[in-house]
Symmetry: C2
Subunit: 710 residues, 2 copies
């Protein structure tokens, strides 16, 4: 692209950026090596003919969207296959794919074959015996069969023990009978299940001789390999249109006493012997590992989606001009409005925070799984609890801020050609998948309350929970970045200790532990949020310090500004928590302290033992308790506004450094050249309605209506 | 519908509701008379054959959606016409339509003819001379022509002075030459403009003899009445797919020196004489009136959309069962989880709050417009400022809560058959239309700062601004409903007085007034929010007290519970503001007060003039300043949880009372009978993809791919 075609405002923005954007790109990519690998992969995929749509998907019918995505899927997966390196470690793969979202250039949402690689194959690997793996993996890897993974049912989601699908063993024929006893037991949601996959791993409850043996995975052929017709006893279809993922072919699946051979149960963990003997698995905490892994990926993908949205919004805000605050001056770029900076810059910082937390979480996860291989499970519960906080917080923040980016683009953000609404649609799905956010926060709260109970009994707190053992009462408010992070820890400690008290109180008042838990659940989710925020903030800061040490001073300065912005923003968002947590000023205990303090001084003054001057200095000492003041808050507010001003000149450079190709942004508002109005019009002209000047409905309906003849 | 088909959980919920839902329906409808009229209208429209879709719109292509909506539009408007009563007052019309959203049953979003009645006709009425009205109104009323209203341009939105479209008067031919000097001046957004309307009111900048005379409305024919072809010099088309409103046919419009007769300028306010003399209009504040009216309608429509979303979510939460907190007990209804109640009940209360505020605002507006007719404009600026707060607050709250309702339905909320995503898509559009929210909040702030300046100089504050004159320092925190509302006023006063100080400071530091305003703009929007919240809360409370006086005690009790919930919820949401506003505890002034206080007592104690006991009671007195404590916050939290428990048994009754017919809810999850799973499946079966067991793409792409032949 020649520079002279780039919008002049954007040219000026780029000229004034005072750090090296390529250096930041490499930093976000986990190193220059991965920037290269990512770009190479993007280049290969995007040069395949037929992978990008001429007519945008939004103009197609639901059926056409599916058919188009199948056409593209086979091209896409063929390309991916050709690039695959069997010897690559999972660590290397994760790093290369950390910021690879080229899929979103090809499918505005995703492919019906997505679950084949992301769920079907990993389940065979994780749950199959060596023999099963040998047989199925060959067929699956070559895509001779296409599989998916069916767990969720129409009536059952996050609560897996509630699944109703039955797999009853018949020792006479050595078969398993799959059955859906009610409509609510129909599988519902799996991608590719409706018309695409011919195999499926089905999670069902195993019954042997009338006895239930829990939920297990079964490999089920669902369609004929020749004709693709659903097999007898299998009911298949698609679940219908959704907010997003409309090309993914999500399906439903019901069974009418459908029989499969015994060896189709994936038996690595538990087995059914020929005679119907059930051999239970070791049921270790190992499955935690996969859940943690998936949640690391979610934090990472939220960073990517948010980065995409804010790239679009910041570039558009640099070229959009609006209003005329000063007479005789041109309309300013909307990026110069402080309210606009307030909406957008936190999204850049949050994206950095999520990238860096995801990197850190991945490195811990990778080291913990090595420990797992060696039989050491000690760090798993704490890591699991952390992932249960970070997945919800990252999805909540990212979706909120993506939506803010869309709204910051005014009316044009509402156009699908801006690609902001679709980005939101995809991101918000993560709110419920892989564990509904509220349920996860309550799971994390369970771990935190348990850890606190142990701590009270003198057991040590580990890893990211270690700070909970600190004594919050002696902490003094300190407006530095580290001081604020410290205060977030104080908030978490206070909320946790307070909810433990509330739980006890509720139980004392006669509630069962379960009812007490429910009654306190709003506070419990707040505890998990507070813990998650404390970790997010402190990891973002400490890892930036560590990872940025080798960077050039201008970039390091910018990165630390972003940390400062993030920390200050959240301190102001949670100012009520801050004020309440430095309690002694306003709290019950505090007023006791204050009263005792006043009384003792009154007595001492009365007895003539101290002078008024000593009283004054004692009052100053007492300020250690009353440590966050209105003035502190005002200082935070001023600092926040100054930070926005300091970041402003680098804003476009910061989003350029996310390094999204135009095909990936897929946005009329966000393209590198800033030709937003021209592109909006070019995209509009792709609408099939614009192919003819007069639509047929004029003659059929409108004209007779206007002539009063209808 | 026979009762035995209703889900048993819903039957049980309805049996335990302890108030009369019909009485509540009448209350929300502004009286029993309007309930009847609304139901009658719904019945008439919904019994027209062909107005409801057999195949849901989401399966159609973009073009099919438009064609289908034109087919339905002519049926729909014919029906409306047949029911029209020419003699009905605007007050009566507003009340009948207050809770009439039958349009949403017919068009999941809206009709391409919508702007004909809502903007085209009112503009002719408001801006045309008597002669112009006589000619155009006849044609428009009979729908012999179909019109729309074009103001916004590709490059210009809320800032109307920035519009670029030119209307240059040519005295030689007595014509006006319409021209679009740049792509950014193309009209962009008007509903029905693309392929539907043949006339359009165009807002353009008038030039006479090279001089600009501001923005005026022009009546422009855009298509031939016979052929519907765009006229020469007129470029028309649709703007493409959007997040919502895809059947509305939003269009673009550009002019290439297109000539219209002089008398096509709507000349009620300003005129161009034949010789090119410009006669300026009185340019009164009268246009404020229309803007206020539209914003009343928006507050009202937010109440309706939110009520719809929460009806769906509460009914679904009553039939959905999940998890098993207690062994050997059935899975509970998710409505029994306190976290779920926390997500949903505030949406019911907010809907009530918006209905009641909209009723009150309408009544004020109606009385102010009578004053306007009599030449009294005194109350208009304050009313305008208020509308500039309530429109943003109602759209922000409603969209946030609608989305919360969707997420509270878990994965199924993501299905379009739930009709929650579409409801959000429509509601969120109000965030930007009729004045972008941030811009409006800053406009309101401008009025508030100005009023404060007047107040300081001794001028009286009027109407909803009167409370700003109260002295906040003497207020004592009081956790009653009225006490909390009072404290919201204190917050607004403090924020306003503080921002005035900040503005002065910024100007003192050398910034121009405009730059100071921009730098303080984040705080300024917070001032408007605080003012808006204070009014919303206090009107909700006082109007409920007043309007509910004649109701039965059980209903009155429930309505006051909702007020209590709303007030408590917002006190907790804004706890930081509460803590900061009862400042003396933590503020700078406070510590001075405290120090002085301590010193004076120390001296008096020292001199033996008072006893320690007197010191103690003085300390208690001092608590008047330090009036909101951690303990107060804990009490609020407890009260909030108790309120959720108290409302729980009536939750389904409360949403039933919104009285939305199933056709209007249009939701598999929210239908009256609660057959959510059956309906999800029935809706899925309407997908054209489910019409055939094997899609053609299997043979064309998938099979060759799986056989490695592609």
């Amino acid at each position: 692209m020649s520079a002279n075609k780039v919008n002049v405002d954007l040219q000026r923005e780029r000229a004034k950026c005072d750090f090296n954007t390529e250096e930041l790109t490499n930093f976000l990519d986990w190193g220059v090596k991965y920037t290269e690998k990512r770009r190479n992969l993007e280049q290969k995929v995007l040069s395949v003919k037929g992978l990008l749509d001429d007519t945008p998907e939004e103009y197609m019918s639901h059926k056409e969207k599916y058919e188009n995505s199948i056409r593209k899927s086979v091209l896409f997966y063929k390309t991916l296959h050709s690039m695959e390196d069997e010897n690559m470690s999972i660590d290397e793969k994760t790093r290369i794919n950390f910021r690879n979202i080229v899929t979103s250039a090809v499918f505005k949402d995703n492919s019906p074959l997505m679950l084949h690689n992301s769920m079907f194959i990993p389940t065979i690997m994780g749950q199959g015996t060596d023999e099963q793996k040998a047989y199925w993996m060959k067929r699956a890897k070559n895509m001779e069969i296409i599989g998916t993974y069916a767990q969720t049912e129409l009536g059952h989601g996050t609560f897996i023990r509630g699944l109703e699908t039955q797999a009853t063993y018949d020792p006479d024929t050595e078969e398993l009978v799959l059955h859906s006893p009610a409509l609510s037991s129909y599988k519902w949601w799996p991608g590719g299940l409706a018309h695409t996959a011919n195999y499926c791993v089905v999670m069902a409850r195993l019954y042997i001789k009338g006895k239930s043996h829990g939920i297990h995975p079964f490999m089920v052929q669902i369609r004929d390999e020749e004709t693709h017709m659903p097999l007898p006893g299998i009911k298949l279809g698609e679940i219908g249109a959704k907010l997003g993922f409309n090309t993914v072919n999500n399906g439903f699946l019901g069974f009418e006493n459908h029989r499969i051979p015994r060896d189709r149960m994936l038996m690595k963990n538990a087995q059914v012997l020929k005679d119907g003997t059930f051999v239970a698995g070791s049921n270790s905490k190992l499955t935690y590992g996969t859940m943690v892994f998936v949640r690391v990926i979610i934090v990472n993908s939220m960073a990517n989606m948010l980065a995409k949205a804010v790239t679009i919004a910041v570039r558009y805000s640099a070229i959009r001009r609006q209003s005329q605050p000063k007479p005789n001056e041109p309309e300013p770029q909307i990026l110069d409005y402080v309210t606009q900076q307030h909406k957008l810059f936190i999204a850049i910082a949050s994206s950095h925070a999520f990238y860096i937390n995801a990197m850190w979480l991945w490195e811990i996860y990778y080291s913990v799984t090595s420990q797992l291989a060696g039989g050491n499970l000690d760090n798993l519960p704490e890591l699991h609890a952390l992932a249960c906080c970070l997945k919800p917080l990252s999805t909540i923040d990212a979706t909120t801020m993506i939506e803010k980016c869309r709204l910051a683009c005014g009316g044009h953000g509402y156009m699908l050609s801006a690609n902001l609404a679709q980005t939101y649609g995809l991101a918000t799905a993560a709110y419920t998948y892989e564990g509904e956010n509220t349920v996860l926060l309550l799971q994390a709260a369970r771990s935190l309350v348990k850890a606190w109970g142990g701590h009270v009994k003198g057991q040590p707190l580990k890893g990211t929970m270690a700070y909970l053992a600190e004594n919050p009462t002696v902490k003094v408010w300190d407006g530095s970045v580290d001081g604020i992070i410290q205060s977030f820890k104080v908030v978490a400690i206070r909320k946790l200790s307070s909810v433990v008290k509330i739980l006890k109180e509720y139980e004392k008042s006669g509630l069962s532990p379960e009812d007490a838990w429910n009654k306190a659940s709003v506070f419990l989710t707040a505890v998990s949020e507070a813990h998650g925020r404390a970790v997010l903030l402190s990891v973002y800061k400490s890892e930036t310090d560590k990872r940025a040490a080798a960077l050039s001073p201008p970039l390091r300065k910018v990165l630390l500004q972003m940390v400062d912005l993030y920390v200050t923003y959240w301190a102001l968002e949670k100012v009520g928590d801050m004020l309440l947590s430095y309690v002694p000023v306003v709290g019950k205990r505090a007023s006791t302290v204050r009263r005792q303090f006043a009384l003792s001084w009154a007595l001492r003054l009365d007895s003539g033992h101290v002078s008024p001057i000593a009283f004054m200095s004692a009052a100053a000492e007492r300020r250690q308790y009353a440590s966050i003041t209105e003035r502190d808050v005002e200082e935070l507010q001023r600092r926040y506004i100054e930070l926005l001003a300091a970041i402003r000149p680098n804003a476009v450079g910061l989003v350029d450094a996310f390094d999204f190709r135009d095909e990936i942004l897929n946005s009329a508002l966000g393209a590198y050249d800033g030709r937003a109005y021209e592109r909006l019009m070019e995209e509009a002209m792709k609408s099939p309605l614009n192919a003819e000047p007069v639509n047929q409905t004029f003659h059929k309906y409108l004209k007779p209506f206007m002539r009063g003849k209808l």
